[in-house]
Amino acid sequence: MGSYSSHLSKIEDLQGIIQETGFTKAHICRLYDRFEELDKNNKGTLSREDFQRIGELAVNPLGDRIINAFFPNEKQTLDFRSFIRILACFRPTAKDKTADPNAPEPINSRTNKLRFAFQLYDLDGDGKISREELIQVLRMMLEAQVTDDQLESITDRTIQEADLDGDGAISFEEFRKSLENINLEHKMSIRFLQ
């Protein structure tokens, strides 16, 4: 990697990033390359339009939501630090479970991954996935020919299965519980970010 060191010098607070995210230097360098690639106008930050240029993202049913997840709280720009922090969530979890229980939870723990996904469902941020929010997500994921009635019955069933306290919405805990059988680490880890 020829331009390795020159890149590294551009990244601020490299050590801090390594500490926080757990990425290796090589990965950080790669992601910085990607950041620069996406940043067409060399602004130093990314905007939503930069993300929307990614072709494959455009045909992802959840494309809009994913992009929104990178711009929380109505922010319009994204700097590298935040970019990499969000991506760190998708780092594969370490195999060793000998974590010190008092240490702060690593950014790529199962809980954090779930929380990220939860955020995508829960647009208004009230900590619960309401029926309407779920309908919206389902509408995005299903083909256009599914009727509203069918959609509603699917939603009802989903909530029925997950909702334990009967409030008609799915809280984070209920969400987590409904997914306890699934091997999440595998499903929410980018493979080449080892």
């Binding site: 996406l38 494959e56 990178f70 996904a117 309401s130 994921m141 699917i154 069933r157």
Partner: protein, 815 residues
């Protein structure tokens, strides 16, 4: 069909024929065959009357008129010999194709039994008929025909549709399996067979080690087409797919190369050590030389297509001609034609796809599939036909042990090699993968034809080899081919949780998959290989400039839209499909209702709906199927998603242009033309997309290029068709205002050529009103709109005025 059997390959030296010469050469070959008894062709079911057998001069008069004592002018006559050869070739191919139709009529049959099996059965039946009718063995396929005509389409097809990025990502593993694995198989089979032959009881002692080596080399060629077909159904790890596919391709090359080396060894009287080294060196030379030849031809082809914009009709021909020439050239130099063809198609593909039109690209793909399908069909039918012969030599021990050793050594090889290679891989190859690789080692066409190539004078027991080869092929194709799918399903079921996933689990799992795919796309694809980056840079800086016309980069979205028919998209919007999407807001406005409990049969319905309607995750590696075009982007799904999202995409487009307009003339390479220009042409609203892309859809940049402002027309009557400029699609036949040279913005007044580098799409003089009118005629009429063009605007983006209520995909102007 009389084809000379057992011909050697030395006569190929003079052949530098292009594809149309296919049939001419075939005719020559066929004329060498025996000329007798060609009159009866049971295929067209006609018995020739009379005993006159002279092939060229006899005319058989079926005179319906009165007398035939003298040579009167015959009203009606039959002259079969005149058309015999093309007639029979066509009939064979037609028969093969009809057989294929037949299988697929019974859908159940097609899923249980792979096509190759059915084709062999047909061949057997045919062979039986011919044998029965003539009391003689049916003709056998000439190896020249196989290697010169039947094999290249198959290899070309595989090479062209090979997804290059996964291939090169896994090139180490693929080479490991192909080269080392094949060597392992060959030596294992050869040595163990030799051991068996030493046993006196089996009556095989006259078979030498070199003979078994040669036999081993030909029997190791693996052809997993049936396995690849299975992959479509079962959800296969993408790594596995590319491994199997890549291995099969390179495996063929290795086998053929080794076969020739061993054949030369067999023919030498005594083997010196220097010969062994020469053999090894020859192996490498053959492989690498083939690749070099392939790359040269690939680049020449790419370069040629750079200039084909005026002759779009024959673009596909270039691809095929160059590929075939490449193969023949490599064969001429005794290099590996298969490697050459693979290298040629892979290197050519990227650049050619950039240069040629969409229609040519589709044509190429269809023709490739067609030819390779026909070739494969013919090969299997011949295989069946050649089985029915009375020259078989059966030896229980040899045949059974050959089969046994093939299976054992393949399994052992895969296990051992995988253990070693897994240490170097990031994504390990699981046991299930190993099983599939090992079990999917079917033998096919290559070993069948190579065995006929064995020289009889050193192989007194050639028929024994032929028999055992045929048995091995039959066994693997029938038994393994038919059972692999159930076995894999069985394995799958064992692994997964017995419990059916609940509805919420299904939804969430799919949600996560989409999320992960999206985040991975944001990260872009990368590998850890230094050389890959270098190659990409080299490609970008030098090769693309040289080989691609105009360096018109393609964006993912534009490429996808190319596949959409704009009309269809708009219709979809109009028919109210999209209204469902936008009306999700209405759902939200409803009062929150109580959750109804869902009954069990409703549950089943729900699951069905989910199973059918959930969007698929984007597949990274397009699946390969010899019998159909790859559906690499699931077009309907993509279409829908794009249409639904166009609202937000539109927003972003608008913002982009606004942003770009605001920083007017800057050093940004995508700067807009001056706004001052816009005032001169108030009525022209030209919107075009040019997009920048790196390679392989990595990054896209959409550039919205607005040339003028316009006022929105409020009235719906002036809705107009919006045309996107399809790259390379516009034909120049109707050009009226065509400029003689393709550069220059003169006359159109749209400004100094400030960005010759930026507007590649606009350099070509496009037609103005004619083409797009032609395209969108009916549609426009139905919408009571009209496309507005100024005659001297040769840039031919259609004007697009929009009614705010109308959802039209993507083309916008800033307000």
């Amino acid at each position: 069909m009389a084809l000379a059997g057992g011909g050697s390959r030395d006569t190929r030296g003079l052949c530098r024929l292009s594809l149309p010469g296919y049939f001419i050469l075939l005719v020559t070959l066929l004329n060498n065959a025996e000329a007798t008894s060609r009159n009866e062709s049971i295929l067209h079911g006609q018995e020739v009357e009379g005993g006159n057998r002279h092939p060229d001069s006899s005319k058989i008069h079926l005179s319906r008129s009165l007398t035939n004592q003298e040579e009167r002018l015959s009203v009606f006559s039959l002259d079969y010999y005149h058309v015999q050869i093309p007639f029979e070739i066509t009939l064979w191919i037609l028969l093969a194709s009809l057989a294929k139709i037949g299988f697929h009529l019974y859908h159940k049959l097609a899923t249980i039994v792979p096509e190759s099996c059915l084709l062999i059965i047909i061949g057997l039946l045919l062979g039986g008929i011919i044998f029965g009718a003539k009391e003689r063995s049916p003709p056998v396929m000439s190896t020249d025909v196989f290697f010169l005509y039947l094999l290249p389409p198959i290899v070309l097809d595989a090479g062209y549709f090979m997804p290059s990025r996964p291939f090169f990502d896994n090139i180490g593993t693929i080479l490991w399996y192909a080269v080392v694995g094949t060597l392992w198989n060959i030596i294992g089979i050869a040595v163990s067979l030799y051991g068996i032959c030493q046993v006196q009881a089996f009556n095989l002692s006259d078979i030498t080690l070199f003979q078994t080596l040669l036999f081993g080399s030909l029997i190791s060629a693996v052809d997993p087409v049936a396995v690849l077909a299975v992959f479509e159904e079962i959800h296969v790890n993408e790594q596995l797919h590319i491994l199997v596919f890549g291995e099969s391709l390179l495996n063929d090359a290795v086998t053929v190369a080794l076969y020739h080396i061993f054949k030369s060894f067999c023919q030498m009287r005594d083997i010196l050590t220097v010969d062994i080294f020469a053999g090894i060196a020859q192996f490498f030379v053959v492989g690498i030389g083939g690749i070099i030849v392939g790359i040269i031809y690939g680049f020449v082809a790419a370069f040629t297509t750079r200039f084909t914009q005026n002759v779009r009709i024959i673009e596909p021909l270039f691809v095929f001609l160059y590929s075939y020439l490449c193969y023949l050239t490599a064969e001429m130099f005794r290099l590996s034609g298969i490697m050459a063809l693979i290298a040629c198609s892979m290197s050519m593909k990227y650049y050619v796809e950039e240069n040629i039109s969409m229609k040519s690209s589709t044509t190429i793909k269809y023709f490739m599939k067609m030819w390779s399908s026909v070739s494969e069909t013919l090969i299997f039918i011949f295989l069946g036909v050649s089985t029915i012969t009375n020259t078989h030599e059966w030896n229980w021990a040899f045949v059974c042990f050959t089969l046994l050793f093939c299976l054992i050594w393949r399994a052992l090889g895969v296990i051992v090699l995988t253990q070693i290679i897994n240490r170097f891989r990031k994504l390990i190859i699981t046991r299930k993968d190993q099983f599939i690789i090992a079990y999917g080692g079917l033998r096919g066409a290559i070993c069948f034809s190579l065995v006929f190539l064995l020289p009889s004078h050193i192989f007194p027991r050639k028929h024994l080899f032929i028999t055992s080869t045929i048995v091995v092929i039959f066994f693997t194709v029938f038994i393994q081919g038919m059972t692999i799918r159930p076995l894999v399903n069985f394995l799958d079921v064992k692994k997964t949780n017995k419990k059916q996933p609940t509805v919420s689990e299904e939804i969430h799992i799919r949600f996560f998959d989409h999320l992960l795919a999206g985040v991975e796309d944001i990260c872009g694809q990368w590998s850890h290989y230094y050389w890959r980056d270098k190659a990409k840079k080299f490609n970008r800086n030098y090769l693309s400039k040289l080989l691609i016309r105009d360096k018109e980069p393609k964006s993912g979205i534009v490429a996808l839209y190319k596949k959409l028919e704009l009309k269809q998209a708009i219709e979809l919007a109009e028919s109210g499909q999209l209204s469902k999407v936008s009306s999700s807001a209405s759902l939200l406005n409803k009062k929150p209702q109580k959750i109804n409990n869902v009954s069990p049969d409703e549950l089943k319905k729900i699951k069905d709906i989910l199973a059918k309607n959930l969007y698929q995750i984007r597949q990274r590696t397009p699946s390969y199927n010899r019998h159909s075009l790859p559906r690499d982007t699931n077009e309907n799904q993509v279409k829908e998603i794009l249409i639904r999202r166009h609202g937000s995409l539109r927003e972003s487009m608008r913002k982009t242009t606004r942003a770009k307009q605001s920083d007017a003339v800057k050093n940004s390479p995508f700067s807009q033309p001056q706004n001052a220009r816009t005032t001169t042409r108030p009525r022209k609203k030209n919107v075009a997309f040019t997009v920048g892309e790196d390679s392989n859809l990595e990054t896209d940049s959409l550039q919205l290029d607005n040339l003028s402002q316009s006022k929105l027309r409020p009235s719906p009557r002036h809705q107009e068709a919006c045309g996107m400029e399809w790259k390379n699609e516009v034909h120049r036949e109707n050009d009226r205002s065509q400029k003689p040279n393709s550069f220059g913005y003169d006359g159109g007044g749209v400004g100094s050529g400030n960005d010759s580098r930026r507007r590649p799409a606009l350099k070509k003089p496009r037609t103005t009103s004619d083409n797009l009118e032609h395209h969108y005629n009916e549609h426009r009429r139905s919408r009571q709109g009209f496309v507005e063009f100024s005659p001297d605007n040769w840039r031919a983006e259609s004007a697009c005025e929009e009614d705010p209520e109308v959802n039209d995909p993507l083309i916008r102007k800033p307000k």
